[in-house]
């Protein structure tokens, strides 16, 4: 399993949720993972129901089995100041630059600069070792930008090509690229079983591959439970309404005679079954499209009661059972 796990996907498909669940899943006994966020949205804090995360690694959860999950919200402005401090010993001038808005300006006119600061910080955490030579984190999981931007985001070398050809940022980009293009990294894409996210996943994989970035797995999220399968649906269509009415009646739902309560349930229940069948077919088509992409697929269930901490642990357990740790 690669030590840097990048989670992307179409907006709203569950990148933040899946990244968090993955960080929990990978934190098996005695292990430590770092969950990083790069878009300044405090999605991790919301998910773990804690106050906003500072630009500082902190422990936010203990995983099932005892591993630890740390979290970090990377702030590109502060990361840049850190660099300037480290390489140019700017002191107070750094603060003045920030006050002038120059830091914001620099990261805005040069998005590649911002990206290399973000990925750089994550890669630094991947490589960091403690005094005994052990990795500080066994895994780093990144809640990354969406599919439409992920390739540019990770392909920092190209993005900073127009910037200064020498100096710390340039070296940083080189170092980052070495990690990102190696088997140390895996980029996973989260999708739903719907046309648009699946299309975006296919496009995203093609782009990542063209840029020689290591594509990991496809994480199908919010999968609805299969209540009836294709055979059942065929059987439903072939069953007399009267039999269904009788069966409903036998279950205690009223009279089966025309106009009886059970009989009046038959039409709407069959209508719901037809809707279910239509969606079932569509989902199967999308699953087939995903299957052709030739990557391992994982499926995470739709949590009917909505997402909360307990739900997150449930997803983490699910990922472990599917061999993601």
């Amino acid at each position: 399993m690669s030590r840097l796990q990048v989670v992307s996907g179409k907006g709203g498909t569950g990148k933040t949720t899946v990244a968090a669940a993955l960080a929990l899943a990978l934190a098996t006994e005695g292990k430590r993972t770092l969950l990083v966020e790069v878009e300044g949205r405090q999605g991790i804090a919301q998910l773990f129901e804690t106050e906003a995360l500072p630009y500082e690694e902190r422990k936010i959860a203990v995983a099932p089995g005892g591993g630890e999950v740390y979290a970090l919200a990377i702030d590109p402005e502060l990361a840049l100041l850190d660099y300037l401090q480290m390489f140019y010993k700017l002191g107070g001038a750094g603060r003045a630059l920030k006050k002038l808005g120059a830091i914001d300006f620099a990261t805005t006119i040069a998005p590649g600069l911002r990206d290399v600061l973000l990925t750089g910080k994550a890669c630094e955490a991947v490589r960091r070792k403690d005094k005994s030579g052990r990795f500080a984190y066994d895994y780093v999981v990144m809640d990354a930008p969406p599919t439409g931007r992920i390739t540019r985001f990770l392909n920092v070398n190209d993005e900073v090509a127009g910037l200064a050809k020498i100096g710390p940022i340039h070296n940083q980009a080189q170092a980052v690229m070495r990690v990102l293009k190696s088997s140390e990294t895996a980029v996973h894409l989260v999708t739903l079983l719907e046309e648009m996210p699946v299309q975006e996943t296919a496009d995203g994989i093609a782009e990542l591959r063209a840029a020689r970035l290591p594509v990991g797995r496809i994480m199908v999220n919010m999968v609805r439970p299969e209540v009836l399968d294709a055979t059942d649906l065929e059987l439903v269509r072939g069953t007399a309404r009267s039999s269904l009415a009788q069966s409903l009646s036998a279950a205690g739902l009223g009279g089966a005679r025309r106009g009886g309560q059970a009989e009046r349930l038959v039409a709407p229940l069959l209508a719901q079954a037809e809707e279910y069948a239509e969606r079932y077919t569509l989902e199967h088509e999308q699953r087939a499209v995903l299957g052709e992409l030739g990557l391992p697929l994982h499926e995470l269930p739709l949590l009917a009661e909505g997402m909360d901490l307990a739900g997150l642990y449930e997803l983490a357990t699910e990922l472990r059972e599917q061999g993601m740790s």
Binding site: K10, G11, G12, R41, L84, L97, L100, G101, A102, F105, A106, I109, A110, L113, L163, A164, E194, E195, M196, Q199, R224, P225, V227, D232, E234, L235, V236, G238, T239, A240, R241, S242, S243, L244, Q246, S247, L248, S249, A250, A251, G252, L253, G254, G255, A256, R257, Q261, L265, A267, P268, L269, L270, A271, Q272, A273, E275, Y276, E278, L282, A304
Partner: protein, 458 residues
């Protein structure tokens, strides 16, 4: 923030006959046909957070307005591929194309286009600068990265395109989709943000040293410039800063300021004849965004027509609760021996208020075989199979009812916060919406305002 909630909520018990909605504090039903038919309505903007159905709603409304006789253009942004194909706009060309296949009995027209932000930006440059200068701007590396997708460029260009379409005055009605961003507010804020940035202090410092002749100016400039050229130059490389300088200087003389331009299009949104529709799915995040947007529109004096609650689930059997459906399903799935007793016990205890006491009355259609003829040799007990299938149907129903009540709760929270907002509900269709027939269906549902079209076969 919520002007007189009591006034409008009284007379709207139209949903009352729908069993799922009896506990609802009813919101006003949004009546869309009068809005799109009104010749005074010139612009409808569909806003909302990502994936809720803005593009679908915009296209469906445009189609409906056209089929009701108006000459309409729909500006879509990032439509699903098949939907774009069905409207004949799948190749980006940034100009409205007439959509074929309409019912034009009311002699309306539908034109559609897909926003190409880079092309739109290029066109602005070409329109405002002479050829030589335009070529210089278009070739500037900073311009190229700006137009290819800077934060806010898409929103800025969507506004710009709207302004252009409006200025052409060729259409009765312009329906605008908005870019897919996580926050609905981005559509309003991003253009100004980008405008301010490009017109901002640092860019001034970088670009106009000659203009700042004053002593104080010089002093500030020296400190600023030395740091800029020093540190930023080291970071960004001198070339990028030069590119930015030349770009801004070139744009400035021809274009008259990004911020000014953003402000001008913004005003269009406040003009009479513009109406906003907020689109949301009945989910917590989407409705929270919708609430922010509603409050913001009010603060900006921008007219909100209402909320389109898209992908709402309904049920024709809402009188059967999830709990009862599950209990009944379990009852049917119990092993046979237990089942016979349990089934009867269940029946005796069954609160059948309609008093149909017959356990298994044989209706007229009893001659129909009870299990599909396709499996004559099936070792499965046919009754057993029917019971299992019925249990499956009941489980599906229980899932549906749980979903319904979750959606209802989320929706009620929004209504409590904004009882003044009229709502049109659109049912979640089982499949995608990817052709004119699908759009027409959505249009019918939008106009009906209720999630379920009247049942025909019940």
């Amino acid at each position: 923030m919520s002007p007189d909630p009591a006034k409008e909520t009284k007379d709207s018990s139209r949903h009352a006959q729908d069993g799922t909605r009896h506990h609802l504090s009813p919101a006003r039903t949004l009546d869309l046909d009068p809005l799109i038919d009104d010749p005074k309505t010139r612009i409808v903007v569909c806003c909302g957070s990502g994936g809720v159905g803005k593009t679908t709603t915009a296209a469906a409304l445009g189609l409906r307005a056209a089929e009701r006789g108006r000459k309409v253009v729909v500006l879509t942004i990032d439509p699903a591929r098949r939907l774009a194909q069905s409207m004949g706009i799948d190749s980006l060309d940034n100009v409205p194309r007439r959509v074929k296949g309409l019912d034009d009995s009311a002699s309306g027209e539908l034109h559609a286009m897909m926003l190409d932000m880079k092309r739109t930006f290029d066109e602005i440059v070409e329109a405002h600068a002479d050829r030589e200068r335009a070529a210089a701007i278009l070739g500037n590396p900073f311009y190229q990265s700006l137009s290819a997708g800077f934060a806010g460029t898409q929103e800025y260009m969507a506004m710009e395109k709207l302004g252009q379409l409006r200025a052409r005055d060729e259409w009765d009605l312009i329906v605008v989709d908005t870019p897919p961003s996580r926050s609905a507010l981005d559509f309003l804020d991003a253009p100004k943000r980008l405008g301010s940035f490009l017109d901002g202090r640092l860019i001034r410092l970088l670009t106009a040293p000659a203009k700042l002749g004053g002593r104080a100016g010089m002093k500030f400039l020296n400190v600023g410039m030395s740091m800029m050229t020093g540190t930023l130059g080291k970071l960004l490389g001198g070339q990028l800063l030069k590119d930015v300088q030349t770009f801004v200087a070139a744009m400035d003389t021809t274009f008259g300021g990004f911020r000014t331009r953003a402000d001008a299009t913004y005003k269009l949104l406040q003009a009479p004849g513009t109406a906003f529709l907020v689109v949301a799915a009945p989910e917590r995040d989407a409705l929270r965004e919708a609430a922010y947007f509603v409050e913001r529109l009010a603060a900006e004096d921008m007219p909100l027509a209402g909320l389109v609650l898209n992908r709402v689930h309904g049920s024709g059997a809402a009188r059967l609760s999830a709990e009862r459906a599950l209990a009944a399903a379990e009852n049917l799935e119990e092993p046979r021996i237990v089942d016979q007793d349990g089934g009867k016990a269940g029946l005796r205890n069954s609160p059948d208020t309609y008093g149909s006491s017959e356990p298994a009355a044989v209706p007229e259609s009893a001659a129909v075989p009870e299990s599909p003829a396709s499996e004559p040799d099936s070792p499965v007990d046919p009754d057993r199979t029917v019971e299992q299938l019925t249990a499956g149907l009941l489980r599906l129903h229980a899932d549906r009812m749980r979903l319904l009540s979750r959606e209802q709760r989320t929706r009620d929270r929004f209504t409590a916060l904004h009882p003044e907002v009229a709502v049109a509900e659109v049912a979640a269709l089982p499949g995608d919406v990817h052709d004119l027939a699908g759009l027409r269906d959505i249009g019918d549902r939008l106009a009906a305002g209720r999630p379920e079209l009247p049942e025909t076969d019940a």
